[in-house]
Amino acid sequence: MQIAISGGKGGTGKSTVAINVAVELAKRFKLILADLDVEAPNDHLLLGVELQNEEEVNQFMPKFDYSKCIKCRKCAEVCEEHAIITLKDGTPFLMPTLCSGCRACEIVCPVPGAIQEGSRLIGHTYVTPTPYGFTLVTGKLREGEERSMPLVVAAKKRLKNLDYELLIVDTAAGTGNTVSKAIEGSQLLIAVTEPTPLGIHDTELILQLGKLMGIETWVVINRADLGDVNEVYERAERYNAKVIAEIPYSENIVKTYVSGTPIVTTDYPEAEIFRGIAERIYEFLRG
């Protein structure tokens, strides 16, 4: 089973919802939380743990053996990223930062061995035990690297080898294809939103994505008292999405967020709201 927590805009509270729901649901399922916001992974900070079991994510890069290359330019022609340029005589050169590692050049090269296996470190994945009875899987893109898709794929691959009953995915902001890659495979999508016109605008996009992917979508309104929630209810209804919770702005939430303590582990009254969200998810998953 897999559920995804997303929200369109950054800073709406996706990770806060993800970690608290994970702590609660870990009492009932063998659980993995996957932080697939690979450009800005923060779940470990919110859980107060240090990332562990680092593994490199290396990406294929063509290495030209110029003694074998026949300068046919085929590699440059198929490169959709235009990462390979050729000199006048056809000699190919790679611009490493543009290379996506897709291997199209290697596939079309007519001379065996003219393109050899090179690689570049593009990021890391981590598998971190937490004191809350679940495992955190994190993907982290290296600074200066442009493409987050390979990190999302690498983190998802790594967690496939782990044993779990329920996977909770915390996605990046936005609604591009790396967010859909993170959500892929989920039975339920939870969009965390804010009741401001900006939040609503972005939530609408994530609701569209949920609809396109054919995934049941719920909405959690964060900082609900800082705007007009009616507008959120209306939009949600338009996309056949249920609003399942309203979280008020709360200093207690900020306090626990900052100290790396999930609020569901405290006695603060707000903890009850997150427990309620977890309960709804549990009922949904139980069918």
Partner: protein, 296 residues
């Protein structure tokens, strides 16, 4: 001059501060704003843009398609797709997931049946231009849901902005970048003269701003820091310490103000909606510092 405003983490107040700074600088300088958050653009909304004057479709994303009539169902495409975007549907057909495809064409190259897999150009989004109600132009983009290449949209936005700057003899481009450190942010930061980083005093924001700073360093651009929601986490001194260690000048600190979401609901720059608040006072001081230190 090209100034990029970046934060790494979303939700730290980048667009709020940017809108207010634009508002404060507009009378003295000839500006153009670029909203480089193509996946969740909202600077236009904050600057009162309700209608776009010109909209250009960006056809650039490529998506693979499989012709199920000629497909021999050998599965090589699925095996070789570097991003695992090909699946078998209920009828046993190999299908490309258009919401995750990166358009690399590896499937097309390995397919043994010529013409079965084609790479088609699709719309990746739109780029728009408007005059804000404050008189300066803005360029904004919107990536279509599930599409790749948000970075390319940002690059095109900046090209368009440069062209307008030339035509209208404008002095400064202010770029509001996306969250994260990926292609959109690299496209935003690349080519800028100065980066202004915005962070809040929390461990998550510190971690993300440190990452975006590495991207800025890569381009050898001078960086400055604004601390937003400066009082939400008393006792957290690491953000300030980091800036001092790295030699990043702090342009100012803005206290948390619960009226900020109200200004967002009004779709007005905070400084205009609540000019008397403490946060507005801080933003005015930052605008002065920008005039003194950056836009000389």
């Amino acid at each position: 001059m090209q100034i990029v405003i970046a934060s790494g983490k979303g939700g730290v107040g980048k667009s709020t501060v940017t809108a207010s700074l634009l508002y404060l600088l507009k009378d003295e300088y000839r500006l153009i704003a670029v909203d480089a958050d193509a996946e969740a653009p909202n600077l236009g909304l904050l600057l009162g843009v309700t209608e776009w004057e010109e909209e250009r479709e960006h056809i650039g994303a490529k998506i693979a398609r499989i012709n199920t009539e000629t497909c021999i169902r050998c599965g090589i495409c699925q095996m070789r797709c570097p991003y695992e975007c090909i699946y078998v549907d209920d009828e046993g057909n190999y299908v490309v997931n258009e919401l995750t495809c990166e358009g690399c064409n590896v499937c097309g190259l390995v397919c043994p049946v010529p013409g079965t897999i084609t790479l088609e150009q699709v719309r990746s989004g739109v780029i728009r231009r408007a005059i804000t109600k404050y008189g300066f132009p803005i360029i904004s983009a919107q990536l279509d849901v599930g599409r790749p290449e948000s970075g390319k949209l940002v690059t095109e936005e900046k090209e368009w902005a440069k062209q307008i700057m030339k035509e209208q003899n404008l002095e400064h481009m202010i770029v509001d970048s996306a969250a994260g450190i990926g292609c959109q942010v690299i496209a935003s930061v690349g080519g800028a003269d100065v980066a202004i980083l915005i962070a809040e005093p929390t461990p998550a924001s510190l971690s993300d701003v440190q990452r975006v700073y590495k991207v800025v360093q890569h381009f050898h651009e001078p960086a400055y820091l604004i601390i937003n929601k400066a009082d939400i986490n008393p006792g957290f001194t690491k953000l300030r310490e980091w800036a001092e260690q790295e030699g990043i000048p702090i342009l100012g600190e803005i206290p948390y103000d619960s009226a900020i979401p109200k200004s967002m609901s009004m779709l007005r720059p905070f400084i205009e909606a609540f000019p008397e608040s403490k946060a507005s006072q801080a933003i005015r001081e930052i605008a002065e510092a920008i005039k003194q230190e950056i836009i000389k």
